[in-house]
């Protein structure tokens, strides 16, 4: 009986240690799970962010910051994308503008997606031919930063102004072809002074529309 009582303590210690071992094992399993779920790919999000940022700021694809050039962006190739944003090289990538897929390489199923609201600009050409007299005015219907004026050889116009500022002046009559660059921040009114002429006014306004640029990078 005496020996039996002495071992009772050891027995309870063994039970306690067994309980500790199982608690530790459980803790390790939980830690493993937490570690496995923390294994993310920061490179995907970075690639998507960098490509979206470069697409809306690089000169090759934009008219100005955050305004995409429609003709350039619709001809986007995988090589262009890699050159713009090297972090996307060797990854699956998809670029969507509005509802249209511009570029898809590989098959990005999951991955990270970055969205940006952008303007998509298209340069349109508007040409008109008109006869102007002394004091004649013409207001361009859309703002533009590039106007081409072509005067006939019989021109008597001496001065051309845009919103009061002198653009062209020739006391002998302005003849020939000129490119002028009015401000794109205000509506331009051209006024002609000095005589009559036949003039072709070609303006190239940007037509913009809003769209969402979605860049997905996977792998």
């Amino acid at each position: 009986m005496t020996e039996g009582r002495a071992q009772a303590n050891l027995l309870s210690l063994a039970v306690a240690l067994t309980a500790l071992v199982s608690a530790t094992a459980l803790g390790l399993v939980v830690a493993d799970g937490a570690l496995a779920s923390a294994d993310r790919e920061p490179g995907e999000r970075r690639g998507a962010g960098a490509l979206a940022e470069r697409l809306v700021s690089a000169e090759a694809t934009t008219v100005r910051q955050n305004v995409l050039d429609r003709s350039a962006i619709s001809e986007l190739s995988a090589a262009d994308v890699d050159a713009l944003a090297p972090p996307v090289a060797n990854r699956s990538v998809r670029v969507r503008l509005g509802g249209k897929t511009l570029l898809e390489r590989g098959d990005p199923t999951g991955g990270a997606t970055v969205e940006r609201v952008v303007l998509v600009a298209e340069r349109t050409t508007r040409s008109r031919s008109l006869a102007v007299g002394d004091g004649g005015e013409l207001t361009l219907p859309r703002r533009t930063d590039r106007v081409e004026l072509t005067f006939g050889s019989e021109s008597g116009v001496e001065t051309v102004r845009a919103n009061g500022r002198v653009l062209l002046h020739d006391p002998g009559g302005v003849t020939g072809q000129f490119v002028v660059e009015p401000s794109r921040y205000e509506t331009t009114t051209l006024s002609f002074a000095g005589g009559t002429a036949r003039v072709v006014v070609e303006s190239t306004p940007l037509q913009t529309e809003k769209a969402t640029l979605r860049v997905t990078v996977d792998g």
Binding site: A6, L13, L17, A31, G43, R46, R54, S57, P87
Partner: protein, 158 residues
């Protein structure tokens, strides 16, 4: 029976000694098992993840430091780096437009290409994790130069 011949007084002492031995053995075995296998694995895994994120965060900071096109540019941006990864100091270095993390442990290491505009000409420099890291961008119409440097080297300039 005399008291000397009675062994009952030894019972608690022997019992406690056995318990102490058992507990010491247990703690030793557990410590060896954890530090020999699980803990270094976890530290490697976490260090690797932290390294990846540190490189990505630093690369984004460098890219954001590039100012818009201008005739004269000079900008200084502070970069927040983890002081140490896996308990050790490390370096971040730019070589051929690739930002790479150099760490004494082979389990930690990451690199990423920088997405910079074409007008950025030269990119160079390196940071140690103990530095007060800043990105210095200088340039003119010819092009921009991006340099990884420290606040001390700039003389505390903001």
């Amino acid at each position: 029976m005399s008291l000397r011949k009675d062994g009952r007084a030894l019972t608690p002492a022997v019992g406690k000694a056995l318990e102490v031995g058992l507990v010491v053995l247990f703690v030793g075995a557990l410590t060896t098992a954890l530090y020999g296998g699980a803990v270094p694995d976890y530290r490697d895994a976490v260090g690797g993840e932290v390294g990846d994120r540190a490189v990505v965060a630093a690369a984004e900071r460098i890219e954001n430091a590039v100012p818009p096109r201008a005739t004269q540019a000079r900008s200084v941006h502070a970069v927040d780096l983890p002081r140490s990864i896996r308990g050790e100091n490390y370096r971040l270095r730019v070589e051929e437009r690739t930002l790479a993390l150099e760490h004494p442990s082979p389990a930690v290491g990451a690199e990423t290409d920088l997405a910079l505009p074409e007008r950025v000409g030269d990119v160079g420099g390196e940071w140690r994790s103990s530095d007060d890291a800043v990105v210095l961008v200088t340039g003119d119409t010819e092009g921009l130069r991006v340099e990884l440097t420290t606040r001390e080297e700039l003389g505390g300039e903001r």
